[in-house]
Amino acid sequence: MSFWDQIFRPRSTSSQVAKERLQVVLVHDRVKLSPELLETLKNEIIAVISKHVSIDQEAMEIKLTHGRGYQKLTADIPILGSRDSAAPRRPR
C-alpha cells in the first residue's frame, strides 16, 4: 500500500471494528466450529474428493459465512484436468 493510500484510507471506527470482530467470533461460537476443526474438515474433504477427481488443493477454500439469523459452510473446490490441460496434475 502506497504512502498516499495510507494517508487517505478512511479509518474504520472502533464500533465498526467491534462489529466485524463480533460477527466473526459468533459464527464460530454458534456452530461450535473452531478454525482448527475447519482445517481438519478441509483436509478430509480433499481426501474424499481427490479419490475421484483432481482438485486444486492450493486454491481450495472452505469457510463459514453468516447472514441475518443463519450460518453456512461454503466450500470452493477448483477442479483440475479440464479439456485444456493435457496431463492433469496429480494431487499431492
Binding site: 479509518r11 471506527t13 472502533s14 464500533s15 465498526q16 467491534a18 462489529k19 470482530r21 463480533l22 460477527q23 467470533v25 459468533l26 461460537d29 454458534r30 441475518r68 439469523g69
Partner: protein, 267 residues
C-alpha cells in the same frame, strides 16, 4: 386467570439485570399490575437493596424451599405500592440450595396470584441461570453495547433455543449516544444485526441510575428520569402497548464537544 413469568438474564455479569428487574417491577406496578419479583441470585442478594426493601427481610427463598416459611410469608410487600412484592435470595447459601423443580413449583404457585412474576437471574450459564429460566414464559436478555456482553447474549440466545423457550427479547442498556455518534460504541442497529433477535427496549447510560440505587428508589419512580422513562416504556410494551423507541439525547455538553474538536482523538 394466571399471570406470566418473565425472566431477566444476560450471560455476562454487571450489565443491568437487577436494575432492570427492579425498574420493570415498579413500572408494571405503576400500571396497576400485581407483580412479584424473585431474586434468583442466591448468595449474591441485591434486588432487595436496589428496590430499597433490604431492611424488611425476614424469610428468603431458601427458607421457603426448606420449609421454614410459607411462600406468602417470604413475600415482602413494597409500602410505596401495594401491587409490588419481593421474594429475596438467601445471602449465605449457594445456587444449589434451590432445585429447578422447586423453582418451577414456586413460579407456578405465584402465577395463580399475580399478573407478573419477574425473575432476576444471576450471571453465568450454570445452575443459577437454569433455575431462573425453568419457569419462564418469556425471557428478556439484557446486554450493553460492548463486545463481551453481546457475545454472551448470543450464547444465551442459543441456550434458550435449546431449552425450547419462546424467542427472547432484547434490552440494550447503558447506551451512550455521544459515543455511538462518533463511532465508538455499537449502535442499536449494529447489536440487532449481530444478534438477530427482537428488541423490546433501549436504556441510556444514566447517572440517575446510581443516584436511584443509592437511595433505594428505582428510577422508574422518577418522572423526570430518562432511564426511568425507558423502563416505563419497556413495561408498557410488555403490556402490549405500542410505544415508540425513545430518542436518546446526546448528553455531552458543549465543552466536551469543543474538546473533541480542538484535540482530535487518536485511535
Amino acid at each position: 386467570m394466571t399471570g406470566q413469568v418473565i425472566t431477566i438474564t444476560s450471560g455476562k455479569g454487571g450489565v443491568g439485570k437487577t436494575t432492570t428487574t427492579a425498574n420493570l417491577g415498579i413500572a408494571l406496578a405503576l400500571q396497576g399490575k400485581r407483580v412479584v419479583c424473585i431474586d434468583a441470585d442466591i448468595g449474591l442478594r441485591n434486588l432487595d437493596i436496589v428496590l430499597g426493601l433490604e431492611n424488611r427481610i425476614v424469610y428468603d427463598i431458601v427458607d421457603v424451599v426448606e420449609g421454614r416459611a410459607r411462600l406468602r410469608q417470604a413475600m415482602i410487600k413494597d409500602k410505596r405500592m401495594p401491587e409490588l412484592s419481593l421474594i429475596p435470595a438467601a445471602q449465605t447459601r449457594d445456587k444449589t440450595a434451590v432445585s429447578p423443580e422447586q423453582m418451577l413449583a414456586i413460579c407456578a404457585d405465584l402465577k395463580q396470584e399475580v399478573d407478573f412474576v419477574l425473575v432476576d437471574s444471576p450471571a453465568g450459564i450454570e445452575r443459577g441461570f437454569q433455575n431462573a429460566i425453568v419457569g419462564a414464559d418469556q425471557v428478556l436478555i439484557v446486554t450493553t453495547p460492548e463486545v463481551s456482553a453481546v457475545r454472551d447474549a448470543d450464547r444465551i440466545v442459543g441456550l434458550l433455543e435449546a431449552a425450547e423457550k419462546s424467542p427472547a427479547r432484547l434490552i440494550i442498556n447503558r447506551i451512550r449516544p455521544s459515543m455511538v455518534k462518533r463511532g465508538d460504541m455499537l449502535s442499536v442497529a449494529d447489536v440487532l444485526e449481530i444478534l438477530a433477535i427482537q428488541l423490546i427496549g433501549i436504556v441510556p447510560d444514566d447517572e440517575q441510575i446510581i443516584v436511584a440505587t443509592n437511595r433505594g428508589q428505582p428510577a422508574a419512580l422518577d418522572n423526570r428520569s430518562q432511564s426511568g422513562q425507558a423502563f416505563r416504556n419497556i413495561a408498557a410494551r410488555l403490556l402490549g402497548q405500542d410505544v415508540p423507541l425513545m430518542a436518546l439525547k446526546d448528553t455531552d455538553g458543549w465543552l466536551q464537544r469543543l474538546g473533541r474538536f480542538v484535540i482530535p482523538r487518536r485511535e
